[in-house]
C-alpha cells in the first residue's frame, strides 16, 4: 500500500512536471514548421518593463522580462487554422492560464489575453487572429521582483 502510494506520488510529480509546459511544447512543435514564422527575443535583465497585464500586479512589485516568443501562422488553410487554435486553447487550459481579456474587432479579428502567475514568475500569452487569416501566438515570461 505504501509502495503504491510512493509510486503514485512520484508519478504525480513527473506528470505535473511534464504537463506544466504545454505552451512551450507548442512552440517547439511548430517553430520549424514551414507554415509558421518563429521569433524569439531574449529579455533584458534588470529593467522593469511596463506593459499590458501590469495592472494585475501590486504597485510595489515590478517585473523583468526574461524572454518572449512569437509564432505566426501564415497558412490560408482554414481547417489547419482551426486545429491550431484548438491546440492553443487546449495547451493554455492544461497549463492553467487564466483568460483575462477578449477583444473582438470585426467579424474575424480577435485578441485574447491569458495570464499565469506563480510566486516569482508571470507569464502572459496573447493570441491574435486577424481577418487576413494570420494567427499570432505571443508568449512573454517575466520574473516578479519586489522593490
Amino acid at each position: 500500500m505504501r509502495k503504491l502510494f510512493s509510486i503514485m506520488l512520484i508519478t504525480l510529480v513527473f506528470s505535473a512536471a511534464a504537463s506544466a509546459q504545454q505552451v512551450e511544447k507548442l512552440f517547439d512543435k511548430y517553430m520549424e514548421d514551414e507554415r509558421f514564422n518563429y521569433i524569439y527575443k531574449k529579455g533584458s535583465d534588470g529593467s522593469p518593463l511596463n506593459g499590458i497585464g501590469l495592472e494585475v500586479l501590486k504597485p510595489d512589485i515590478f517585473k523583468n522580462k526574461d524572454k518572449e516568443k512569437m509564432l505566426i501562422l501564415n497558412s490560408s488553410n482554414e481547417s489547419f487554422q482551426k486545429s491550431f487554435l484548438t491546440e492553443v486553447d487546449k495547451a493554455l487550459e492544461t497549463d492553467k492560464f487564466e483568460n483575462t481579456s477578449y477583444v473582438r474587432n470585426g467579424k474575424n479579428s480577435r485578441i485574447s489575453e491569458y495570464v499565469r502567475k506563480s510566486s516569482n514568475t508571470l507569464e502572459e500569452v496573447q493570441l491574435i487572429k486577424n481577418s487576413g487569416g494570420n494567427i499570432v501566438l505571443k508568449w512573454e515570461i517575466y520574473t516578479i521582483k519586489s522593490k
Binding site: 505504501r2 509502495k3 510512493s6 506520488l9 512520484i10 510529480v13 513527473f14 512536471a17 517553430m31 520549424e32 514548421d33 514551414e34 507554415r35 509558421f36 514564422n37 518563429y38 521569433i39 524569439y40 527575443k41 531574449k42 499590458i52 524572454k67 518572449e68 512569437m70 505566426i72 501564415n74 481579456s101 477583444v103 474587432n105 485578441i111 496573447q126 491574435i128 486577424n130 499570432v136 505571443k138
Partner: protein
C-alpha cells in the same frame, strides 16, 4: 517361548511397552533365537541397524530476521524522497543551466535567419507590429477608463469645492 510369542503379539498389535520391546530386541540380538522365531530376526536386525545409523547433521539455514516494519517503511519513504529530490534537482539544473541562448532567433517558414543583424531587425519589427495591434485593440478600454474617471462624482465634487474655495479667497482679497 510363549512369553516371546506373547511379546511379539503385543508388539505387532502396537500394545507393547518400551521395556517389552527392549526385551524382544535383546532376544533377537542374542544367539538363543528359536527356529520358529528366526523369521522375525531380520526385522529386529533392521531395527538394531537403524539404531546405529546416525542421522546426518543438518544445518538449518539461519532464520531470516524479519525486517522491522518501521525500517521497511523508512526505506520506502527514503527511496521515494530520494527520487523526488533527484527529480527536483534535475529539473532545477535543466532550468537554470546556463545554455547560451542567442538574443534573437528567427525562423521564417522553416528557415533560420542566420544573419544576426537581420534576425534582430525582423524580430524587433514583428514584436513592434504585434504590440501596435494589441495597443490599438485595447484603445477602447483606455478611452472607457478615461470617460469613467471623468464621470467620477467624487472627483467632480472635489474639483468644484476647490473652485468655490478659490473664488471665496479671491473675493476676500
Amino acid at each position: 517361548m510363549n512369553d516371546i510369542d506373547n511379546l511379539l503379539g503385543k508388539y505387532f498389535n502396537g500394545a507393547s511397552s518400551a521395556g517389552e520391546e527392549k526385551r524382544l530386541k535383546n532376544y533377537f540380538k542374542g544367539t538363543g533365537v528359536l527356529p520358529e522365531h528366526e523369521v522375525y530376526r531380520p526385522l529386529f536386525a533392521v531395527f538394531n541397524a537403524e539404531k546405529q545409523i546416525k542421522a546426518p547433521v543438518i544445518t538449518l539455514p539461519e532464520k531470516k530476521t524479519k525486517m522491522h516494519p518501521f525500517s521497511r517503511r523508512l526505506i520506502i519513504w527514503g527511496a521515494g524522497s530520494a527520487a523526488v529530490a533527484l527529480l527536483a534537482v534535475t529539473l532545477s539544473i535543466l532550468r537554470s543551466s546556463p545554455t547560451q541562448h542567442p538574443e534573437y532567433v528567427v525562423i521564417i517558414n522553416g528557415k533560420t535567419v542566420v544573419n544576426r543583424h537581420k534576425a534582430r531587425k525582423y524580430a524587433e519589427n514583428m514584436f513592434g507590429e504585434t504590440e501596435k495591434i494589441i495597443e490599438s485593440s485595447y484603445q477602447p478600454f483606455r478611452e472607457a477608463a478615461n470617460i469613467k474617471e471623468g464621470l467620477n462624482a467624487g472627483k467632480i465634487l472635489r474639483e468644484t469645492e476647490q473652485q468655490i474655495e478659490q473664488i471665496k479667497t479671491n473675493y476676500k482679497e
